[in-house]
């Protein structure tokens, strides 16, 4: 007479070697032991033994060799209660010829009841998996990259022409925290290019208008409104909480202030400027790490601001409405590359886009060994020297 299912499992358990969780706990990080979780993916995502590799029982025969690597190692299998792992142990032993195979009694349930350490892997919720599915499909992003984006804190200086595309696409990409610094209100003349706002938000603070749009686009993003203009007294406190600074400001004093504070705090700045049909774009990242020498800062590129007659930022200027879209999305792309850690950033390079010519060229930006800001110990830059240079406000005032 053939046995019942339950009887069959009992028989198998009598034939395989079993090991108590207490003994498994002693060999958790033993290099001679491989602990294999044979449960289904959704069970594993709720928690597993630290260091265990996952090979669902359905893929056991085809994937176990890759997961274990060396058949001479001791292999300990576990499941939820000890039944599936016993069946899997028998397969490894009888069919695949593994020698040192054991099944953990009581499975993950008993392990957890005993209060032993568990490892709860970070996963995306089903709706996140859906929302970010096109990111998950590219190797360079994948789950790991998406989690980095979700953990990232990016600060946008300006919720205007460049800030609009940056905010929309970074929110859509799942950047977890987006800070927005702006003290302006939405004006009808903004809407030709500042697409994060709308006719219905004319007169509202730009931070508020953008926040509402982003809430609709991706409610998972935490939008932090800084309804202020950056100055030397606030810049360090605002920057401290962020990983990447996006500079899309319309004036030189703020650009130098952003640079000086970012160098001091070791934050990368993704910078763009636009005028007419042309854009400039670069990444200023003076951090030093294993892979990179520190890059140049904005003051290495332009040690001094131009005088007022050559600084069109002093007044209102014409710009093709789509140009900040192009430049802002190149910025957003650099932000994502920095956060995820892929590709070659525009570090030490200045890209120039000419919309009329449909041309993109670039020049090298060298670190200035005598740069007044990034060549000195960042901590030694006094607060009252942040963003300071002679009489710039007076220049602009004189230009009217």
């Amino acid at each position: 007479m053939t046995p019942s299912g339950a009887e069959f499992v009992r028989q198998i358990k009598g034939q395989v070697d079993e090991v108590d969780p207490a003994q498994v706990q002693e060999v958790l990080w033993d290099p001679d032991t491989v602990i294999v979780d044979v449960r289904e993916s959704d069970e594993v995502s709720a928690g597993k033994l630290p260091g265990a590799v996952h090979v669902a029982r359905g893929f056991l025969e085809s994937r176990i060799d890759g997961a274990v690597g060396d058949r001479d190692k001791r292999v300990i299998l576990y499941c939820a209660s000890g039944n599936r792992s016993a069946l899997a142990a028998r397969t490894l032993k009888e069919d695949l010829g593994y020698d040192r195979v054991e099944s953990m009694t009581g499975g993950y349930t008993l392990w957890k009841d005993r209060g032993y350490e568990v490892d709860v892997p970070r996963v995306l919720t089903p709706s996140q998996r859906e929302r970010y599915s096109r990111h998950l499909l590219i190797n360079e992003i994948g789950l790991e990259g998406q989690l980095k984006l979700i953990d990232a804190k990016v600060l946008l200086i300006g919720a205007g022409a460049l800030g609009s595309p940056n905010s929309l696409y970074l929110a859509a990409a799942g950047v977890g925290t987006l800070g927005i610094v702006d003290d302006d209100v939405v004006d009808l003349s903004n809407l030709q290019r500042q697409v994060a706002h709308g006719t219905s938000t004319i007169g509202e603070p730009k931070t508020e208008s953008v926040a509402r749009r982003l809430e609709d686009l991706n409610p998972e993003v935490k939008v932090v409104q800084h309804r202020t203009r950056l100055d030397a007294s606030t810049v360090l406190d605002i920057f401290r909480d962020y990983d990447v600074i996006v500079d899309g400001t319309d004036n030189f004093p703020t650009r130098y202030l952003i640079n000086d504070a970012a160098v001091r705090l070791g934050k990368p700045v993704v910078s763009a400027a636009i005028l007419g049909f042309e854009a400039q774009l670069s990444v200023f990242d003076t951090r030093r790490d294993q892979e990179h020498e520190p890059g140049p800062c904005y003051r290495c590129l332009f040690p001094e601001p131009p005088p007022a007659e050559l600084a069109p930022s002093c007044g209102a200027n014409g710009v093709l409405g789509v140009l900040p879209g192009t430049a802002g999305l190149l910025q957003a792309t650099e932000v994502i590359k920095l956060v995820v850690g892929v590709g070659d950033p525009l570090r030490g390079r200045l890209a120039m886009y000419d919309a009329l010519a449909a041309e993109m060229r670039e020049v090298k930006v060298r670190r200035d060994p005598s740069c007044p800001v990034c060549s000195v110990d960042p901590a030694s830059i006094p607060d009252d020297e942040l963003g300071v240079f002679p009489d710039y406000e007076a220049f602009c005032a004189a230009a009217g």
């Binding site: 300006g158 763009a272 400027a273 636009i274 049909f277 930022s313 670039e362 930006v365």
Partner: protein, 92 residues
């Protein structure tokens, strides 16, 4: 002879041209020829000491002439000079 790329803020000084050609075997000679033809540019590119203003960068192809031989850097007929002043437009 070299091709010089003129940035938007300086174009009014060269009759709106985006690029102009000028003769010269060094960066200084080329820029001298340029500023002789377009006198307005001189004060925008050079300080009273005859050196390039610090707020203007000049690139020979993709390299800042300051890290090459400065104004004495040799310029060949196939070279491009890019004049690049800082730009700030964005938020408003």
């Amino acid at each position: 002879m070299a091709n010089i790329r003129i940035p938007p803020v300086l174009r009014p000084s060269v009759g709106g041209e985006r690029q102009v050609d000028a003769d010269g075997a060094t960066v200084r000679e080329v820029l001298d020829a340029l500023t002789t033809a377009h006198e307005e540019l001189r004060g925008q590119l050079f300080g009273a000491d005859g050196e390039l203003n610090r707020f203007v960068n000049v690139y020979l192809n993709d390299e800042d002439v300051r890290v090459l031989g400065g104004l004495d850097t040799a310029v060949g007929p196939a070279d491009t000079l890019q004049i690049l002043p800082a730009m700030a437009g964005g938020a408003r």
